[in-house]
Symmetry: C2
Subunit: 359 residues, 2 copies
């Protein structure tokens, strides 16, 4: 067996997803479980997107358009870019794999921060690439330390902005200082999965940097409420996109995801309702957490990293028994922290009520 | 730019998909175009599968179950296997990537046949793995030659059975002879995407071999009529599956694909109607092709490789102008061959009519 498996693979610590609602209900015999564990949009999906899915059911026997023609054109117009600036993936997860394969050679490394999206490491390992991560500073990406740590073989730097699981962000000034004078042979990936929730003025306008060696990752899984369909995209200069297209699977984005996203990008009302729900919920949760005497990290995303001042796995289990799924942060060595996704008003109230019993 | 891109990537000749119907209609200003280019099920999809999609629209804001729990259990029961024998992918395409990453080391090679599914080569290249392909013999995989050609660093042998684009198959006796005495440190992948269309008695019962180092690939894209949703699966011993699970993306199979497949596996009536359509269509096409004086390769799948006795690109374009999309085989160096997917009776008649004008 050992000499059958590519050795690197055995080092991978598999990704631990947030527990699905039905799994918890099945295992614990509970009903009405709420999930605040995977930073999903609590309002569901755009009704226009769902209508588009229904309209396309009669073509599911056909392969999807491998070029995402209509979606690419519409989104390019919306972002004031060219279609050649865009590539779509089976979630932005797949595009992490595509970026590493396209830009990082076998003896080259991926550099990022600890306590960030775990897929950067998992995908690097699965691809036999070197991986290095530096500590956060005050729960934030330490861009200066990362810049100092660049080696000759550093080929891609992943910056989750806002960062998951901390909810912090690097601002325009910090990012511009970081990008200034970087070696020409490396790629900076700005993973902006939570971009649409950001409510601060000094957040970088990342599209301004794609004439540099910058690749932006975005997704329809969060604000757009389409996590179940798996569709994300990358924005970069056309030369980069062209190479990435060689690497991705030819039919990587399913037909219904394309149809739904095509409508979702236009549903401004749904987006603004989603944003308002998150911003209102954040204020409510900040306030309640303070009353309870818990610490938290200020977030510009749709989740909050909470210092529960006791073993997070115990808190996780106690909340689970009350039908509330959150994410314990022990895997990040943040043993007293949980990450809670901001839900609907009702869900937030239920979370706080459950948390009070845990205290 | 050159020192930014991983060199191997630039060697990749991108996959050329069958032209989508809407693209042809858009480009040529045609209506009622028919596509016999991508080996899709001409009957559409199981209505039960489509109903399941509608029932699940209200949960699209949630990530899919990364473990495909319900589908895995149901399919395992159906195949008389354990859930641990199964892994699902974003089409079986993704699983080719997972297999290569899991089993083939960096200096090891993938071995297969020429004139077979092009993704074996593309995915090997995208992963910096060595790739070697031997010629077909009478349009069939030459298993004896492949066995003789195994080197010390050969790690995975891909056998498309039935083969695409030829429609030929290796039979039980040939496969068993091939498997006998193979080196213990290599994997044999039986890619059975077209398995459900096979109508010959000596086709191998591949499930009998998974106690060996055999991995079987199957898909919901063909007989099950769900190509647009992207879902395929692999069958192997649990130790192999466990390693492959480390490598795949955590949410690789979208939620609607899981819901639809769960119903599709039970829709025996749809499957048998699909099979009958293909078998009847095959007889019709064989007969008409003979009348026209064209050669063809006998097929056990839902497509036929046809010797049109002139430049296939010219035939492709002439058929396209009549609104019939087929696949020219020039990329395989089969300059006088096209591959036509068996369609509905109406589509087959239209193809033959269009072909007559080309002759």
């Amino acid at each position: 067996m050992e000499n059958l498996i590519n050795k690197n693979i055995l080092k991978i610590k598999p990704y631990e997803p947030g527990k699905p609602i039905e799994e918890v209900e099945r295992e614990l015999g509970l009903k009405n479980v709420i999930k605040l564990a995977s930073n999903e949009n609590p309002l569901g999906s755009s009704l226009k997107a769902l209508a588009a899915i229904k309209r396309n059911l009669n073509t599911l026997n056909r392969y999807p358009d491998g070029n995402c023609f209509y979606l690419k054109n519409k989104l390019a117009k919306k972002l004031k870019l060219k279609p050649g600036n865009l590539i779509f993936g089976n979630g932005s997860d797949e595009l992490i794999d595509v970026i590493i394969k396209t830009f990082v050679g076998l003896n080259e490394e991926v550099l990022t921060s600890k306590v960030s999206f775990v897929e950067y490491e998992i995908v690097s390992q699965a691809n036999n690439r070197r991986f290095r991560a530096l500590p956060l500073k005050n729960f934030k990406y330490d861009l200066m330390a990362i810049k100092m740590a660049i080696r000759k073989n550093t080929k891609a730097i992943f910056i989750a902005n806002p960062n998951n699981p901390t909810g912090t962000y690097v601002n325009k000034r910090e990012l511009e200082e970081f990008l200034k004078g970087l070696p020409k042979n490396l790629i900076v990936v700005l993973d902006e999965a939570y971009n649409e929730f950001v409510d601060v003025r000094d957040f970088p306008k990342s599209l301004d940097y794609i004439n540099k060696n910058v690749i932006i990752l975005r997704t329809f899984s969060k604000t757009y409420g389409l996590a179940g369909l798996r569709i994300g995209f990358a924005i970069a200069k056309p030369e980069f996109i062209e190479c990435m297209n060689r690497v991705r699977q030819p039919f990587n984005v399913n037909l219904l995801a394309q149809a739904a996203a095509l409508e979702a990008v236009d549903d401004a009302a749904f987006l603004s309702r989603s944003r308002k729900t998150i911003l209102d919920g954040k204020m409510y949760l900040y306030n309640e957490l303070e009353k309870l005497g818990f610490g938290y990290v200020c977030s510009v995303a749709n989740f909050i990293l909470v210092d529960v001042k006791q073993d997070c796995r115990i808190v996780f289990n106690k909340l689970l028994k009350q039908g509330v799924i959150i994410r314990p942060m022990a895997i990040y060595n943040l043993k007293n922290f949980i990450r809670v996704t901001i839900g609907t008003r009702k869900e937030n109230i239920r979370f706080i009520k459950a948390l009070k019993k845990v205290k």
